[in-house]
């Protein structure tokens, strides 16, 4: 129900933001520790050489480490919720959502990662406890060869 979404919010659809980072061994090792995955493929070069990858590679959902926009803290909402879901709609609490993650090329140390993200849709539905607003956010992750390495589509759900 698009006509119930404020025009200021709809204007944000399709506005792409891009940023670029370098992938390091440290990023991969710490991400693996954070997700509780002890696979030596993520930190042991000698082991990694024995695998089909021949080098350390990142865990499948590693791009999550670069997905949230790293705006200065003063630009965050009071609850610190991701700015990706900060759109002018009559709802403020982030109450859930879902993700679809597609993986095409594994990142490895030394790679460049270009993050391109945009809102692709905003819509609303009546929920059991009030109106719910859905913000669909797409993030594409490219490597230094401009190849699409991964893509995540996240649906944020907000309500009052």
């Amino acid at each position: 129900m698009k006509n119930e979404i404020p025009a200021d919010a709809l204007k944000l659809i399709g506005m792409e933001k891009r940023r670029e980072y370098g992938v390091t061994k440290k990023d991969i090792r710490r991400f693996a520790q954070a997700i509780g995955d002890p696979n030596p493929l993520y930190y042991d070069e000698a082991y990694a050489k024995t695998t089909r990858f021949k080098t350390i590679v990142a865990p499948p959902l590693f791009c999550q480490a670069f997905a949230f926009e790293d705006v200065p803290p003063e630009q965050l909402l009071p609850d610190g919720s991701p700015v990706e879901a900060d759109v002018p709609i009559p709802a403020k609490r982030l109450v859930g959502g879902g993700s679809v993650f597609e993986n095409f090329i594994r990142f490895k140390p030394g790679d460049k990662i270009v993050v391109a993200s945009k809102i692709t849709d905003i819509y609303t539905k009546q929920g059991k406890r009030g109106r719910l607003y859905f913000i669909v956010h797409e993030t594409c992750f490219y490597n230094q060869r401009q190849e699409l390495a991964a893509k995540e589509v996240t649906t944020f759900i907000k309500r009052m």
Binding site: L41, P59, L76, L94, G98
Partner: protein, 142 residues
Amino acid sequence: MENQIHGTDVVAVGTKLDKLVKKPDVKQLFMFSAITWNRHAIHYNRQRAREEGLPDVVVQRGLIGNFFAQLLDQWMQDRGDILRLEWKVVRSAIPGDTLTCSGVVRRKFSRRGDTLFECDLEMVNQEADAIAKGVGTVRFNN
């Protein structure tokens, strides 16, 4: 580990993946928020989480996705790739929960000469409440 595979030809629809049990604690939630630069207070500020009606700080949706990814990787043993993972959190998980991830092959199909498997995924807590559901598509490399 009876369900670890030795050849994709022997994997049939209905095959169950070995379960994976995860016990996230506050430290893990902190580390995952830090590495993903997720500054949402419901993942580290217990008072704030409770003010929002949550039982405690809650496990990040992204971390739950990684638990599903580990379930699939455990099955494939570095011999395959996760091409697609879709998941949805249906109930909040909190530190101290015991989360059991399970999966079952629901579809086997060919694409450009590769054999792909689509698996239904589920995560439950120690009370057998559903926490998350998902679908993972994987490809084995020969």
